[in-house]
Symmetry: C2
Subunit: 361 residues, 2 copies
């Protein structure tokens, strides 16, 4: 098997140990004689996976008991619609903090359902930076929406100290489980799994239960959070295999020492690559300003389009996967999610250094 | 590994060959050095899986080019909402043919969004039979919805000769790919994958493309069929691993000889078990009337609750999985989807015969 280093932006690298376990028990889950995929979602074996995954996520993220953990489908894109459907009423306004393309989408989708307003946007700075937040009257907004990490542009909120609202919603699709977060600051946190949590096909929603009292009624059952809370995410058939893999990923994170250890490792991993950028005398140019750099998605450009192509072609030959920037912005991007090993980041740093020595004149 | 016979109603048995292939290439898909789950949904390797799965489904079901095949998430439950959101306008009425609990749900969900009417219902007969269809004025309904197979009650439309409407919608979640179907009779066919197509987590929608012209606009992007048609089911990250398994299942069906062969095998499989019922002098009582029997879900009861419990307990000891009836109706149910092998059905028939000899006096 060839040696590769997977820097895909999502779906992304999964822990090798997780894939090995899934492989090993693929045809015989817990000595049941059948695959976990072939078990009923109402059976005891699957139910224990489902409930243990919730318990582990609560433990790892220190989620208070006043919150419910849901496993849904449809990715962040479906959350963009479900949030206003469930929580915006006539005459109410949702506030958006816009730090990238996904923040824009979240607002555009909400605007089809209710009234929205942009609190601040980094668009004029081409989303190179997390903008300073203007003061606003809390009661102006039913809820405030923020994107914690911007996959395409490579910026990230270092912390959430500057943001305060009684009903704060965060799309954490691309950095959930990469570091400790103050869950109690948020009303709802949601995340597609395919970066740090598992494979594509399951979406985690962490929801403060008291919010259901203000939720709209008469929604299609499948689009109502209340349905899923009442049915413990078993209203309809959940994506059982994806949740099983999520469960394995959570066990893996715990085995590594939880979020303290993961966060430290992620900082070290990103530092390798940012150092290659910063020591290149401008040959590599980081897209994000230093104070807004993401630890998950490292975006940079080379002096010109030809060099970018050469860089990507040579990288591919060396076994680096997924280094092209998002199709909407070009350049390069290295996504260093939890499952990307330290040695992959070291290898990329060495390759970047070498490429700079060869071409940087 | 113990010998088991999986009759789960869904998630259900998958072909052993499919699971073995998935196991074998779990960490190294097509010599890429990584799992198919770790590939970008925008990369060539995954894209070929995605497109080939569509092509194979079109081929196996003889889907005309005027139809689009979509891979969505959320199961039939999300389709219950998307259909009226996309196609019911003010002043329009959707007609429902109600043959079981899932038909009821489809209508109840549509009624939250638009106007609905029941054309006929089998509820008074406790859904033991597929009711005769009264004549109705076609132009009364924007669309007519039917459920092709009723998983819980074990009834199935033998064919669709009696139903005619220019915009006929069928929920085929529990019998798609089990037999040939006249696709061109339908405007939309939809199915959750977890019975005959693959694992839970992907939903197949087959949609006649001209219908998009009458679709409602300004829907949340993720809930609009148009979005998914335009983006070839790659608007957002699709459940790539589930679609990969669907692809393997479709290859497996083709390798067996396609739907002609599958249909014949399914008839033989179901016949074994129905014979055990019919030859038991009423010890086993089939829920469905003979003319409405499903080839996918075989439902029956025993003379009393105690015998049912004993039957299920002894069955479990012999390695039979999933024979308890749906929690809403009790009794027993054997689901004999495509991947359930002939020998499992023979074994069940033998067990039923033996149990009848032991207890049927």
């Amino acid at each position: 098997m060839k040696q590769v280093f997977n820097f895909n932006a999502g779906p992304a690298a999964l822990p090798k140990e997780v894939l090995q376990q899934a492989q090993q028990e693929m045809l015989n889950f817990k000595d049941s004689g059948i695959s976990v995929m072939e078990h009923s979602h109402r059976g005891k074996l699957y139910e224990s996976v489902h409930e243990e995954a919730k318990t582990l996520l609560k433990e790892l993220l220190s989620i208070p008991d006043s919150y419910e953990v849901l496993f849904l489908q449809g990715g962040a894109s479906l959350q963009f619609a479900m949030l206003p459907m469930n929580f915006l009423k006539q005459g109410e306004l949702a506030g958006f903090i816009t730090t990238g393309a996904w923040s824009e989408k979240a607002r555009n989708e909400a605007a089809k359902i209710g009234a929205t307003e942009e609190i601040v946007s980094g668009k004029e700075q081409n989303y190179t930076t997390i903008p300073a937040l203007p003061s606003f009257a809390e009661d102006r907004y039913k809820y405030v929406h923020v994107t914690s990490n911007n996959t395409i542009f490579g910026t990230q909120w270092e912390n959430f100290n500057a943001i305060s609202h009684p009903f704060l919603i965060a799309d954490m699709s691309s950095d959930i489980l990469s570091r400790k977060i103050p869950v109690e600051k948020f009303g709802i946190i949601y995340a597609g799994a395919q970066k740090n949590l598992g494979p594509a096909g399951v979406t985690v929603v962490i929801l403060r239960k008291d919010l259901l009292q203000q939720a709209n009624k008469d929604l299609p059952a499948i689009l109502s959070y209340e349905t899923h809370v009442k049915n413990r995410s078993l209203y309809n058939t959940p994506p059982t295999f994806s949740i099983y893999l999520l469960h394995l990923v959570l066990q893996w994170v715990k085995s590594l020492g939880g979020l303290d250890a993961i966060e430290k490792k992620n900082e070290e991993k990103a530092a390798f690559i940012y150092e290659a950028i910063d020591h290149s005398n401008g040959f590599y140019s980081g897209h994000a300003t230093k104070d807004s750099r993401s630890l998950m998605n490292i975006t940079f450009t080379l002096p010109n389009e030809d060099l970018t192509k050469t860089f990507l072609a040579e990288a591919e030959q060396r076994g680096f996967i997924g280094l092209a920037g998002h199709r909407s912005v070009g350049g390069c991007r290295a996504s260093t999610y939890n499952a990307v090993p330290m040695e992959a980041c070291k290898a990329l740093r060495n390759f970047m250094d070498e490429f700079y020595l060869n071409y940087g004149n």
